[in-house]
């Protein structure tokens, strides 16, 4: 990061690391980073994205590689230093707790001696003083001092991790780099370890770089974070902001795959594999990105400010907005009264996310959906799709536009049409390509939702299909147009649980591989919790709460959301209790 912070202690400028393997692997590419005293920085990214290389290059421990760029620590340029000078800083000023494994520690040397090693080098202590200090350090990290007489293999994974931390802290460093400290720990030890770091950092005042896959730990321990992908920093910002509102599709993918945040959601990783570092000229995320475009393939985006303390490397300035609705009001006039179905609704859907719109029956969910696709006109308010105001059916009447799947499967497709005709209908109306291409596209769409594409099935009348099949057909029909946004209005409300599960999994799978956005409308909180990345809660025509799904479901702020959640989940608990009682009563008898 280029911030001109006068308190900057550790600074990386334009750091490039290329390993001299065959072929050469460009592990880090133009990394800029700044760390102030007592600062805490989290680094996230998939395995192999360059996190550990970054840590090792700060420590000056990279071998067999070309390093360019500058690493400065308190005005001393580490990258220009000779190994002997560097040793005075390594461990003394900048220390690192390595990723835990048996390899890191020498199996034939007692723990105490290994921990004392850096101290001998830097402080010239006597054996007695060193032993004393080791005992203190072990107790500081929550290990009993007597463990120092043991060999590494005699300790459990968690204990070894603590020993590694003790080792890193032995010379009271100013910067502590911690690489994956939690990966081998169970939940309880992990919790204890997080607390330990919090406490140590408070007491000893070191700056910390935390490399971890555990997002909750990053959340608790760091104030800023960066996302590393294929050797580049692609997003940087305040931890709280980034976790709540990631701006790069990759960061969002990482966060959405975190089971700690989405406790009930189905787990879906980011589709595709990361490229071999440096093998792609354009944006390294291009092959996996949901909003890729021409320029993304041509050039690598630079990290740019998009807000205060917020930077993102994306040609599109971060995740694009697909749909916005502002101030939507809709009233229905009945004989002698006016019913306000929607009372100033604002909604925003971005590329590639699943947004759930939840609310009790009659809260205005379907009305909103119909207004979004302009089946119904709003009284006031504006809907924008892909940056353009929605008028007429322009946004839905094209390939790559938005599509809606309606609630009732029996009405979703004309019972009179043949399966193939029904799926091809949107393409026919839009006049896309020619007949054989349309047929092919329709058949592909049918296979995507796992409907058979046999001639017999293709020429069956739609009324001869079951509810589940028809609803899948409706989904296939929307899919045939490669939509950028799919609005699914209670599509499983009339299906049995098994069909519902199958359809939802298929839909989510499609969403995951094709990367379209989805507005999933439901009154079923269980379903919403299963699929949603973000949630809007609608009550009597007004959005009473919205945010990241884990925030809304775990810490609802609005009274109405509380009520909805209570009704959905307490009801289940009471059923469970009743079942328990029945079972225990039955056992007694």
């Amino acid at each position: 990061m280029n911030e001109k912070n006068q308190f900057t202690m550790l600074k990386l400028e334009n750091l490039n690391v290329t390993y001299n393997t065959r072929p050469a692997v460009r592990a880090l590419q133009d990394v800029d980073l700044a760390l102030a005293p007592k600062d805490t920085l989290g680094i996230i990214g998939e395995s192999g994205c360059g996190k550990t290389t970054l840590a090792l290059s700060i420590m000056g421990l990279i071998r067999n590689a070309d390093i360019s760029g500058r690493i400065t620590f308190r005005k001393q340029v580490l990258t220009d230093m000779r190994e002997s000078t560097l040793r005075r800083i390594r461990w003394r000023k900048i220390a690192m707790a390595f990723q835990n494994s048996l390899e890191v520690l020498n199996p034939v040397i007692r723990l105490g001696e290994q921990i004392a090693e850096p101290m001998y080098a830097h402080f010239k202590l006597s054996a007695r003083e060193a032993d004393q200090r080791v005992a203190e350090l072990l107790e500081l990290t929550g290990l009993e001092a007597s463990w120092r007489h043991c060999y590494p293999h005699q300790l459990s994974g968690g204990m070894r991790q603590k020993a590694l931390v003790a080792m890193a802290l032995s010379c009271d460093p100013e910067v502590l780099i911690v690489d994956e400290p939690f990966s081998s720990l169970d939940a309880e030890s992990r919790h204890a370890m997080v607390h330990l770091f919090q406490e140590l950092q408070e007491r000893m005042g070191f700056a910390m770089i935390l490399i971890s896959h555990s997002l909750p730990a990053i959340q608790q321990l760091t104030s800023r974070m960066i996302t590393l992908y294929s050797g580049s920093v692609i997003e940087a910002g305040r931890t709280a902001d980034m976790l709540r509102n990631p701006l790069h599709p990759y960061s969002r993918g990482l966060i959405n795959a975190a089971p700690e945040f989405f406790q009930y959601k189905d787990l879906w990783g980011i589709a595709g594999e990361p490229p071999v570092a440096g093998s792609i000229d354009g944006c390294p995320f291009y092959p996996r990105c949901v909003q890729r475009d021409g320029p993304c393939k041509a050039s690598r985006p630079r990290l740019q400010h998009v807000g205060i303390e917020r930077m993102v490397a994306c040609h599109k300035g971060g995740i694009e907005t697909v749909l916005t609705a502002r101030g939507v009001i809709k009233t229905f006039k009945l004989e002698n009264q006016t019913i306000t179905a929607l009372d100033g609704v604002d909604i925003l859907i971005r590329r590639g996310e699943v947004v759930s719109l939840v609310g009790a029956s009659g809260s205005g969910k379907s009305t909103l959906a119909h207004i979004l696709v302009n089946v119904l006109a709003s009284d006031t308010g504006e809907v924008q799709f892909a940056g353009r105001r929605v008028t007429g059916h322009e946004a839905t009447a094209r390939m790559g536009g938005m599509q809606i799947v309606f609630q009732d499967p029996s009405e979703a497709v004309s019972p009179r049409l043949k399966v193939l005709d029904a799926v091809r209908e949107p393409l026919d109306i839009m006049g896309w390509a020619d007949r054989p291409d349309r047929d092919r596209k329709a058949v592909n769409a049918l296979s995507a939702v796992h409907l058979p594409a046999t001639p017999d099935f293709l020429h069956r009348s739609c009324h001869a299909l079951s509810g589940g099949q028809r609803q899948r057909l409706a989904v296939a029909r929307a899919m045939a147009t490669d939509p950028a946004l799919l609005i699914a209005d209670e599509i499983t409300a009339m299906l049995d649980p098994s069909t519902q599960a199958t359809l939802l999994r298929e839909l989510k799978g499609l969403q995951h591989t094709r990367g379209f956005s989805m507005l999933f409308i439901t009154h079923d909180m269980h379903l919403a919790r299963k699929v949603a990345d973000r949630v809007y809660v609608l009550d009597h025509g007004a959005i009473v709460e919205h945010g990241a799904a884990f925030d809304v479901f775990d810490h609802p702020r609005s009274r109405h959301t509380h009520r909805l959640l209570d009704a959905a989940f307490d009801h289940d608990r009471s059923i469970a209790r009743a079942t328990d009682r029945n079972i225990s009563g039955w056992e007694k008898s």
């Binding site: 119909h370 696709v373 302009n374 089946v375 059916h393 839905t396 009447a397 094209r398 599509q403 809606i404 309606f406 609630q407 009732d408 009405e411 979703a412 497709v413 004309s414 019972p415 009179r416 209908e425 949107p426 109306i429 839009m430 009348s461 009324h463 001869a464 409706a474 029909r477 147009t481």
Partner: protein, 290 residues
């Protein structure tokens, strides 16, 4: 083609006994009308025997007061009846269906204007107005078809409109609209095929009504005097003084009446069966729409 034939056979199989009888009678009339000049031994406009001769081997149904063969007149009369019936049904059925779709789909002012017009047409007593119109335009087959159509389209229009109103709210119509479908696409792809069974039933009924109405007008002397329709035969018969004091009526009046009754009954029977089949609920129940 083969598929069409099989659908036709399926269609016949699903008809009731009454319906089948009706269909048979109708087919017979169509045959008679088509082959009128072949199957009648005598010309239908020229004297071919002694006047008022009773049915016999040379004149199967006897002759009228001028000595014109009655069988030949009835055969040719069937043409007139069928042309009038089908013509009116087609004209009124199509017009009514279009008006119904337009009113139902467009809604608003168009709907209001059309519906008020239909209300007026229903309230107007049709026979007197028909008499006036027929008298005004002068008697010809074409005029009669048009006049009858003017009064018959309203029922079809009302039925079709109500169906379109309910269809319009169907999600798949909304879906087609979101894909960008226009009125023309919806009309030929969704509305017309959905409405066709209903319109067909309505048209069969219209046929019956039109045939009777034409007979009525002709009976009153307002039909096409050159047409030799069944109504005209009855008109001439009843105008013959002393028809009720002789037994001439047993052929001169009876046979045209019988033809008229048969065709109307047959139409009613077929119409009833079609109505059952066109009912969407029954259609679903069978699981095999036509």
């Amino acid at each position: 083609m083969k598929a069409r034939v099989t659908t036709g056979i399926q269609f016949l199989r699903r008809m009731s006994a009454g319906g089948k009888t009706g269909a048979f009678i109708l087919l017979a009339f169509v045959f008679v009308a088509a082959a009128a000049s072949i199957i009648s031994l005598h010309p239908h406009r020229q004297i071919s025997g002694p006047p008022l001769s009773p049915p016999g081997p040379s004149h199967w149904l006897g002759t009228d007061d001028l000595g014109v063969d009655l069988w030949a007149q009835i055969c040719h009369g069937a043409r007139v009846s069928l042309i009038i019936g089908l013509g009116t049904a087609l004209l009124a059925g199509l017009g009514g269906a279009l008006a119904g779709i337009l009113a139902g789909y467009a809604g608003g002012l168009t709907d209001a204007v059309l519906m008020r017009l239909i209300d007026i047409m229903i309230v107007l007593p049709d026979l007197p107005v028909m008499i006036v119109l027929a008298a005004f335009f002068g008697p010809s087959l074409m005029t009669i078809v048009i006049v009858l159509s003017l009064f018959s389209w309203v029922h079809t229009a009302r039925i079709v409109r109500s169906r379109v109103l309910s269809l319009k709210q169907r999600r798949y119509i909304h879906a087609a609209e979101t894909f960008g479908a226009g009125m023309v696409y919806l009309m030929h792809r969704h509305f017309l095929p959905e409405i066709f069974p209903l319109a067909a039933v309505s048209m069969i009924r219209l046929t019956g009504r039109a045939i009777v109405a034409e007979a009525g007008l002709s009976f009153l002397g307002l039909g096409d005097p050159t047409s030799r329709s069944w109504g005209l035969i009855i008109h001439h018969a009843t105008n013959f003084q002393g028809i009720y004091y002789t037994d001439f009526w047993t052929w001169w009046l009876l046979y045209p009446w019988l033809a008229l009754t048969l065709i109307v009954t047959a139409l009613a029977l077929v119409g009833r069966d079609l109505e059952k089949m066109a009912d969407p609920r029954m259609m679903r129940g069978h699981g095999k729409p036509i």
